[in-house]
Symmetry: C2
């Protein structure tokens, strides 16, 4: 039997009326004759409430004494939704049952509160689905090798849905969200943003990690690894209304490739510059090793020649909240790393153009720089990958830059 | 290792501060060197909230389509408390972990929403407890033979605690409640009510089923069957303060047996009288079979000779809310049962004196009737068992009767 996985987030199941609407959406999908698994989050607000209770009860405990029981508390939110949705489906005359993570089972590692799914045994689940029973599954939760409850961390329900789809060899994983698809850029910045019909896994990964919060990054990685077609669509349409969404799929399945598919941006960045860094082997490893040890994520690394002989300038970006700490870590290691000066520049944004078409087209970068220059926007740093070009600019120019690039690459809606 | 089970109800774990106090009570008990299992209810109000959600989502579904997923929703409340208490214990430096019903496992039958515990495998639990780890266990929940979640019905956490105590061969099961023990009668009726140091299972069973709401009836039955000593004590004292409670135990372990241990009462009763009932074999079975089919609980059955030849009067009591329905059921079967008249008398109360000492003492009934007569209270019906005498009286005399009997049997506090 062909199977489809549907996933609904916290706002889509926020109260009993919304759960009833989700049930109607499931009923409409079921009319197409597919076997269905529905992955649900906790009702909106519930996870926050449970996290608050756990933090209050376990105040001051180190993670190794806190995270396992935190998972026990927080995982209960999804359990509630599964039971409620199964009931709502039965009211529509649809056979349905809830499956908790431990009943399937969904096996994860022991990294409580941010566990990763290791394996899902889809056998029992598939057998029940193929009998026509809709399986309602809690996102976000699993069990570790010791049968203790685990949770995947915030946003983990997307990953659960993709993992369930892979285990069920589903033909599609539909992620219902509060937007109706993936857009060429943030519609709050330009009304000319367009919904994409299709986007490749690689592009979506860049879009997700660059701040377009439609899909959780890990879920896209997993979908790409397992070749699960994912569709992002709206949970706020009535059943039967058009709701095509955006399909995230293999590059080969996209016939009309755009050179640039979208413009992403990320605020709250900071630029850290180490000037006159001694240019000896292993020094870069020293710098970024120390930052990694301090759990500071680093992006956009650029090394250039310094005015000082046998020295380089090393520039990188971090999240704004980590910038001061990065500076402290560097200054503490000044004797080892040997540099003349360390600076931080805050209030910068990263703006990126993304597209698999870049691989076969030249001039994409030139068009970007020209578009920014025409608006008088100064570029502070540049980094590129095969399918994206990112620039660092003053934060106050973010919207202007996004709109200029959206127009320059022909993405504006007619 | 000697083991003790402690049980805390919903009000005792009603918020984070109360859970922290429960943790201190557990710490104080642990200082006595026993291995501990702690059974907890959902935080007060949570179960009502979850029941409301399940009823709203499953409105109109028949029980066989509702009860299993209702259990999934409602069982989550206890899960939350187990995680929170485990965290609160660890904050006091006490090794602790939560065990969900399915992790132990606690096996129940498939009678969802009112399941009965069939078996608890205490092996893993005992091993962990004997390593010094406090086991925190959700009351009220289990799993059926198909690994589906089940719940035991309201008040089921007392039963869970006793069942866990039996599985762990615990030396005692301490039930912490909002009262500091079992009283000779309801302290709201007479300030002379005394806390009992000990009471036998049989007496407690009569007290519980007669309206003293301290312990759930089924938990006392189970304790009696498994010979688990149960102690009822207050959860609202600070750790270290005296808190002896009342021990519910085998009759043989009570050295100073009272003739009468307590006075119980039950309001909201109704008396149904069938007058001139045809006295043919099987007619009583007909009457009470029909009432049972209509799910009407019947108590205090008295049959007496009617003035009509070859006829009897059949008098019984029901809950007041069932009285009209009982009358309707009887009238509908009038042709089969054959009686002259059916009457209902509402606003009656049942008052009972209870004591295992009655078995070896005469004159207990006479003392009861004399005490009631001296206050001018008319007796409407009488029923007796080996260890109790119950009378039906006008409801407005309830408090007067309880106080008179409390004094007559020498139960008044000095």
């Amino acid at each position: 039997m062909a199977r489809v996985v549907m996933k609904f987030g916290g706002t889509s199941v926020g109260d009993v009326a919304r759960i009833a609407r989700v049930a109607r959406l499931v009923a409409a999908e079921r009319a197409h004759g597919r076997g269905l698994a529905v992955v649900v989050s906790a009702m909106s607000g519930e996870t926050d409430k449970l996290v608050g209770l756990a933090r209050a009860s376990g105040e001051g405990l180190p993670p190794e004494q806190f995270d396992d029981e935190y998972d026990v508390v927080v995982a209960s939110g999804e359990q509630v939704t599964t039971g409620l949705l199964a009931l709502a489906l039965r009211r529509l005359g649809i056979p349905a049952r809830s499956w908790q993570g431990w009943q399937i089972p969904i096996r994860s590692d022991e990294d409580h509160s941010r566990a990763r799914i290791i394996e899902i045994d889809g056998a029992k689940l598939a057998a029940s689905i193929d009998e026509g029973v809709v399986a309602v599954i809690p996102g976000f939760q699993g069990i570790d090798a010791f049968d203790r409850l685990s949770t995947l961390g915030r946003g983990g329900s997307d990953t659960s849905a993709v993992a369930v789809a892979a285990a069920l060899e589903a033909e599609r994983c539909d992620i219902y969200t509060d937007v109706d698809g993936v857009y060429t850029t943030d519609p709050r910045i330009t009304s000319k943003a367009k919904r994409l019909e299709r986007i490749s896994y690689e592009e979506m990964l860049e879009m997700a990690s660059l701040g377009a919060k439609v899909l959780q990054t890990r879920s896209v990685e997993l979908a790409m690894a397992k070749r699960v077609p994912v569709r992002v669509l709206s949970s706020f349409v009535e059943p039967g209304e058009p709701n095509p969404g955006t399909i995230v799929c293999d590059e080969e399945e996209i016939v009309e490739k755009q050179i640039v598919s979208g413009i992403a941006y990320s605020r709250d960045e900071a630029k850290v510059s180490l000037l006159g860094v001694s240019d000896h082997p292993g020094n870069a490893a020293e710098i970024f090793g120390r930052l990694a040890d301090a759990n500071i994520n680093v992006d956009m690394i650029v090394q250039s020649q310094s005015r000082t002989p046998r020295a380089v300038n090393m520039v990188f970006t971090t999240a704004d909240r980590d910038a001061q700490r990065a500076l402290d870590v560097m200054n503490a290691a000044r004797d080892v790393i040997q540099f003349e000066e360390a600076q931080v520049k805050r209030n910068v944004s990263k703006v990126s153009v993304i597209g698999v078409g870049m691989r076969s087209h030249v001039g994409v970068a030139r068009a970007m720089f020209a578009a920014l220059a025409s608006k008088g926007i100064n570029i502070d740093n540049i980094s590129t990958s095969e399918i994206k070009i990112s620039v660092l600019i003053e934060a106050e120019y973010t919207e202007l830059a996004v709109r200029a690039l959206h127009t320059a690459y022909g993405l504006d809606a007619a």
